[in-house]
Symmetry: C2
Subunit: 283 residues, 2 copies
């Protein structure tokens, strides 16, 4: 049997339709022009692509996506001052800081300058801590996209054996907290894991985001697993994930492709988060 291939673009479309409705409601009931501002420091071709996709989606649902461009060698204080100005600017309803940042800037200091109520990505310590403690409100977009994909399949994670291959601050660690909040049994693997197969071969749900093409071959996957590929690697002109899709799809029950899987859902989740920060500004 071949796995059901999850259509990330369709899930994204549904999310964006709801976002568009919410934005329309906000505009017709409050005298505001929803505006999200992204601070972009220097330039990075990979994040530029993501930014273009987000700007396009914002335009479609009626959110103004402003850019604040700062030079590659900007001082940390200048970035912090800029964020503080956006925090108190009533015309700005959400703030992004585009990653990756130049190395001379302290990420945590910069992110924690963002007012948590305008923190579209849920990366401030306050929002992360709330999430860890089960008070979920603004959740980082990629983990949120994974939850949306599971929910869309009506997949209840409670008691399920789930393996995450990624332990970063923006994917693996928040996703672990979110799945523990839902009473899944969660294992987290990464580059220092000695025997990846020992973990993945027992996974009813396998979520991988290592950024290593074909890391997940068919022999690592449990029969009938739900495989969610968060990996994004550019190979020549193409984008691919961690999973050896062609072979794994024959053993998995459900699988997300790359492209067209987690990616578009992540962009849509980013816009759903924007509606939350916009609502915070109204309340």
């Amino acid at each position: 049997m071949t796995a059901k291939v999850i259509d990330g673009r369709k899930i994204a479309k549904n999310i964006l339709e709801n976002v568009a409705k919410d934005i329309k409601y906000i505009k017709s009931n409050y005298q505001i022009k929803p505006n999200i501002t992204t601070i972009i420091i220097g330039s990075n071709p990979e994040s530029d692509l993501y930014l273009r996709l987000r700007d396009k989606a914002c335009n479609e649902v009626g959110i103004i996506s402003s850019h604040l461009n700062l030079a590659e060698d900007v001082s940390e204080q200048k970035v912090i001052d800029s964020i503080n100005e956006l925090n108190i600017d009533e015309k700005v309803h959400g703030i992004f800081v585009q990653f990756p940042l130049p190395k001379h800037l302290a990420i945590d200091k910069i992110i924690n300058t963002i007012d948590p109520s305008k923190d579209v990505e849920g990366f401030t310590s306050h929002n992360m801590g709330c999430m860890l403690l089960g008070e979920e409100y603004i959740i980082p977009c990629t983990p949120l996209a994974v939850l949306k994909i599971l929910e869309n399949e009506k997949y209840d994670v409670k008691g399920k054996d789930i393996v995450i291959v990624n332990h970063s601050n923006i994917v693996g660690k928040p996703l672990t907290a979110l799945l523990l909040n839902r009473n899944a049994s969660v294992s987290v693997c990464h580059i220092f894991t000695k025997n990846l197969k020992q973990y993945t071969s027992n996974a009813e749900v396998l979520i991988t985001g290592a950024g290593v093409p074909k890391l997940i071959t068919v022999d690592l996957v449990k029969k009938d697993a739900f495989v969610i590929d968060v990996g994004i690697v550019k190979k020549e002109d193409r984008v691919c994930g961690d999973v050896d899709f062609e072979s794994v799809k024959d053993i998995a029950s459900k699988i997300t492709p790359v492209p067209g899987g987690v990616g578009p859902v992540t962009v849509a989740c980013s816009l759903e988060n924007m509606t939350k920060t916009i609502n915070n500004c109204i309340d």
Copy 2:
């Protein structure tokens, strides 16, 4: 071979000696009387025991441990007002809220009223979030005690297969983040885990805090595992943990007993955290 039995009281003694030195230094260099205030709402025999142990330890190192007793049926606003008063009181250098709280009070709202710089237990969303993101400063006492025990044995967790049986906000979830920050492979089990043995039998380090006596029998433990028992259950006049100590000590390489294992180290860690909040007030 029989496991090395970890002497928690000895580890605690070392920590407390350092705390005493720090407090002595602070007192002789700054004109302050270190004072930690615990808000106690109603009464609870189990938490009273822990409180007595902490008060005794505070007394020994020269920290004043004040109690603010509030009635069992106190209003949430009154608790919040009391915390806000302590936040701005320059004579108070750290704040505890004694758990468990009466059911009519919202834990998260109350805890997040505490100024993170005076948050001795590291339970505020801000401090939890910082920890999740790898900016560890004030860490909840029980997870910190586990780290101290590992460090005391010079046990490097990087790449190790670690299983935690507990997914609570104050033990399992923060401990998972701390161990991921140190690049361990971490699995988290709990009451909804279908096959506990499938996890524990591969654990090089097994940390258990289910509160179920003899949950961890010898057949669940990997040979030469490091077994850390965070469980505390009162059985008649005795205190016991999760681990069937007598049988498991014959297969483990290291094991913490109950009592005399994690418990005293947790109390000592609580005092170490106090020195951090006291220092925050000086800076």
